[in-house]
């Protein structure tokens, strides 16, 4: 590995150029007497209170009063920070690209001064924000989006109740995050038939959008014979081959590097499709998240990473999860284009996902979307979130920041929806869901043989023997085994 310095290094010219960006200084080669003094005395650092960042972190005004020396910000300003103005002799020819020199010892700040703004289209009242850029949604799509959001919300409510009644063993709601679920799914075009969806477990809305029926959801949650997963996983671990939706697994963020591999396959096959994968704020702490972003960037894989930053990983708030400005800033470090979006704004999520998909496919690159939202429900049915977060906070997000209500105001404003439609929809959904659960409850459990199949493509001899032994034991003690599992 050769690291070598180009000759004719003129420190001051480079410095001035970098500081001022003045083209006129580019070719001047004169020593700058001033800037050296800034850190000339090492003792000047010792007495500082480090709570106030030392000036070499770039927060103080610089010699020429340029504000440019602030820490690196995600966005468009970074190109100015180390602008060497084509002074190639002032650069380190390094594997991976030329790096300009600077005489200034300046640490990049740990944070930018201002947080990365959050893209939104609709204000809290569902009104379009002036000058917002977004992809127009027609009436038909808007109503389908709205209807699916309400379906998801109703499904969550009823399944949650069913769990409380002991009819299903476990459940996880998506309450408060319906817009991310549905709008991102809606932004992916119907032509994306082979689009592989790799998800965590709070994105059933994507599957719902794709046509997974309430009966299919119920079958999975009940773990009956019609569950595609053959009753092997806990409720909410959906998966559907025909909907290009890989089966959910519980471990956090493991789907992310897999999504990159799947995306690489689409890329190699020249498909007009990308992979979309979801994860939470907590998931961004997993090694797999970092592995995946790095791999995606290096492999130039057409994959969209959608982070549902809902503020809480079970009981861990984001302040105890990371010290960065959320997830969006991590994209740039990996060389990935990123955007922060209001996750409770259906139009913003829709527009951002559409744009991301376009970039991912046409430019064959990964895109990161951080959607800010809030987990209004408990983490799961095994959790009581009022033990670790204020009820006021939950209520605020539930009422004032409700994504469905906000989208409805916009839909209402267009004259596409009214109260009668609303009550009709909700009433029907409730009936359909209760019916679906009742039907699913009556379907028998998967047969015992399903315990042993699919470990490998063909069942090996040890499993065949174990099945025989188990059956002998069951024959002797049938009363000790669940009667609803067909033998």
């Amino acid at each position: 590995m050769a690291i070598w310095f180009r000759k004719s290094i003129n420190v001051s010219a480079n410095y001035l150029k970098a500081k001022t960006g003045l083209r006129g200084l580019l070719n001047q080669r004169h020593p700058s007497p001033c800037f050296h003094s800034k850190f000339s005395s090492p003792t000047s650092l010792n007495g500082k209170n480090y709570r106030n960042p030392p000036s070499f972190l770039g927060n103080s005004t610089t010699l020429f009063g340029s504000p440019r020396f602030e820490s690196v910000k995600a966005g468009s300003q970074e190109e100015l920070l180390y602008d060497n103005g084509g002074h190639q002799d002032q650069a380190l020819d390094f594997p991976g690209g030329t790096v300009p020199f600077t005489p200034e010892m300046r640490f990049i700040s740990e944070n930018s001064k201002e947080r990365i703004p959050c893209y939104r289209v609709l204000d809290d009242n569902g009104n379009l924000i002036m000058h917002s850029s977004f992809v127009q949604v027609n009436k038909e799509d808007a109503l389908k989006m709205y209807g699916t959001m309400v379906t998801l919300q109703t499904m969550d409510t009823i399944f949650y109740e069913a769990q409380r009644q002991g009819r299903i063993s476990f459940y996880v709601t998506s309450i408060g995050e319906e817009a991310i679920n549905i709008s991102s799914a809606a932004a992916l075009t119907p032509e994306d038939v082979i689009l592989a969806q790799e998800t965590q477990y709070r994105e059933p809305g994507v599957l719902l959008w794709r046509g997974f029926t309430l009966q299919e959801f119920s079958n999975q949650c009940l773990g009956n014979k019609s569950d595609y997963g053959k009753g092997r996983q806990m409720p909410i671990h959906y998966g559907s081959n025909k909907h290009n939706y890989f089966t959910v697994s519980s471990p956090i963020a493991t789907q992310l590097p897999q999504a990159v591999g799947a995306a690489y396959s689409l890329k190699m096959d020249g498909k007009d499709a990308c992979v979309v994968t979801y994860f939470g704020d907590g998931g961004s702490s997993e090694g797999d998240f970092h592995a995946a972003l790095n791999f995606a960037a290096v492999m130039e894989a057409p994959v969209i990473f959608i982070c549902r930053n809902n503020g809480w990983a079970i009981s861990t708030p984001v302040s105890e999860q990371f010290r960065s400005d959320g997830i969006v800033v991590k994209g740039q470090a990996y060389g990935i284009r990123s955007i922060r979006v209001d996750g409770n704004d259906a139009l913003a999520v829709y527009s951002a996902t559409r744009a991301a998909r376009e970039m991912a496919i046409t430019e064959q690159r990964p895109v990161l979307i951080e959607a800010l939202t809030y987990r209004v429900g408990h983490h799961s049915t095994s959790d009581d979130s009022t033990k670790y977060r204020p009820v006021d906070e939950i209520e605020h997000w539930k009422m004032s920041r409700n994504p469905i209500a906000r989208f409805r105001r916009w839909v209402d404003g267009n004259g596409w929806w009214n109260d009668k439609d609303e009550s009709e929809l909700r009433g029907n959904l409730r009936k359909q869901l209760l019916h679906a659960i009742q039907v699913a409850e009556k379907v028998e459990k998967p047969p015992l043989s399903d315990l042993f199949t699919d470990v490998y493509e063909n069942t090996p001899s040890n499993l065949i023997q174990q099945e025989e032994l188990l059956r002998q034991t069951i024959e002797r003690h049938p009363q000790d085994y669940p009667s609803d599992v067909p033998l």
């Binding site: 595609y228 590097p257 396959s265 592995a291 492999m299 490998y456 493509e457």
Partner: protein, 445 residues
């Protein structure tokens, strides 16, 4: 289960030659009509296909068409060339599968030269370096395989496979991919290659044999070859097997083991052990590089009139109990040997299973000659290793008729066996005998 005899006309065992015997392999694989692999609808891994291939292979071998003498890494290299050649990219040619090879430093040929010439021949889109991140490599491989490709991932050393072992990849994802989806999805096209085992100077982190960890994971297969021709045939089987496979390559043999390897495309069956040396007094079971040690022990024992049967397990998960059982029923004694630490090693599983099946036929306790229960040491490697002497001595004790008179003496012998490794290091055969005598007296009183 059957004992394969297909390699009978090959050298049974790798030839060891400490002079650099590196023969650059002819990378261009001539398939010579052996295109038996891409047409299958089951990822090329069905048993019938194996059988066909084996039959063809045998015909080929019988007709006198043998390959060149090459070393183990060249055999791996040949297999990878064939795998990429026989499964071209979907985009250009309508085929069922596309094969990809990737991992750290594979692009220039890999640190062990196993991937030499692949990137030049098949392009950097199908043979590529990855960032230095094992969980990323395997996770990426799972995704690639789940889309219907053959993903051949290299982990540079088995010692570094642990980041990929955890929840991200092998245990929780690859192994359960098919099962958890109710067979809607699978990542059966995934093969993870990793060099394993001692190499003489590898210390803690370039010597480990982590196979036992993986043998505790239903849903994956674990395969370890013993020689170049085995490596090529088994690797091609693993790549085309419709289940995720971890393939450990004995790195000590990469250059050391040289034998004639058929140039064509051939596969050897998984989950079938092979009796590579027939005998009547004791069965020895091992895999990978350890077989050469055991072979030498067999030769030594033979000089003393002890006839050893040596079995190469080849596939550790799911493993061929029947072949081992049949052998032990014949000999009445079993010795298992592996480099990994003895406690919790795969030898324990074999021992337990064979005792279950052959308890009444056993004439001596099952012996395990394995690595010590320490981290793999550098300077002490010659002491740590389950060497020829350890194997032969225990083998001898197993046969010792005096010690087989009564059950009590069985116990006594077992105790001696346990202490044997340390006693040997002290050079104390006398001490061992004294101690044995003492135990025997105590047991009989």
């Amino acid at each position: 289960m059957t004992t394969t005899t297909t390699t009978a006309s090959l050298r049974r065992f790798p030839r060891f030659d400490f002079v650099s015997k590196f023969t650059p392999s002819s990378c261009a694989s001539s398939r010579r009509g052996f295109s038996t692999t891409t047409s299958s609808s089951t990822a090329g891994g069905s048993c019938t296909e194996y059988a066909l291939t084996l039959q063809q292979q045998q015909q080929q071998l019988e007709s006198g068409s043998r390959g060149k003498s090459i070393n183990l890494f060249s055999a791996i290299n040949q297999a990878l060339h064939i795998a990429l050649d026989s499964d071209p990219r979907k985009f250009s040619i309508p085929v069922l599968y596309s094969a990809y090879v990737f991992g750290e430093d594979v692009s220039f040929g890999g640190v062990f030269r196993c991937t030499t010439g692949l990137a030049d021949r098949f392009g950097k889109q199908r043979v590529f370096n990855t960032p230095l991140c094992e969980q990323g490599i395997v996770g990426f491989g799972i995704g690639l395989a789940a889309m219907g490709n053959r993903a051949i991932a290299e982990i540079q050393f088995a010692d570094y496979i642990y980041p990929a072992f955890d929840q991200a990849c092998i245990v929780n994802e690859a192994a359960k991919f098919r099962y958890r989806s109710g067979n809607q999805f699978n990542c059966g096209g995934l093969t993870i290659r990793a060099p394993y085992g001692a190499v003489g100077h590898g210390g803690h982190y370039h010597s480990q044999s982590p196979e036992a960890f993986f043998c505790h994971v239903p849903g994956i297969k674990v395969v370890i070859p013993r020689s170049p021709s085995q490596a090529k045939g088994l690797l091609l089987s693993c790549i085309r097997d419709p289940n995720p496979v971890v393939f450990f390559e004995p790195k000590w043999l990469y250059r050391l083991a040289v034998e004639e390897v058929p140039e064509q495309d051939y596969m050897l069956p998984l989950s079938e052990a092979e009796v590579i040396r027939e005998g009547s007094d004791i069965s020895l079971v091992g895999w990978g590089a350890q077989l050469s040690v055991m072979e030498q022990a067999c030769v030594e024992a033979e000089k003393e009139g002890i006839s050893c049967e040596l079995i190469d397990l080849k596939t550790l998960l799911p493993w061929d109990k029947e072949t081992v059982e049949a052998s032990v029923c014949k000999t009445g004694r079993l010795l298992i040997s592996h480099e990994a630490p003895v406690t919790g090693g795969f030898g324990a599983e074999i021992s337990a299973s064979i005792v279950e099946r052959c308890f009444l036929r056993l004439e001596a306790p099952v012996a395990r000659i394995c690595g010590l229960d320490t981290p793999f040491p550098l300077v002490f490697e010659p002491f740590y290793m389950p060497t020829k002497n350890k194997v032969a001595n225990i083998g001898r004790n197993q046969i010792d008729s005096e010690l087989l008179v009564t059950d009590l003496i069985h116990q006594c012998h077992q105790h001696m066996g346990r202490n044997h490794a340390c006693l040997e290091m002290k050079g104390g055969n006398n001490e061992m005998e004294k101690r044995g005598e003492k135990i025997r007296k105590r047991a009989l009183s």
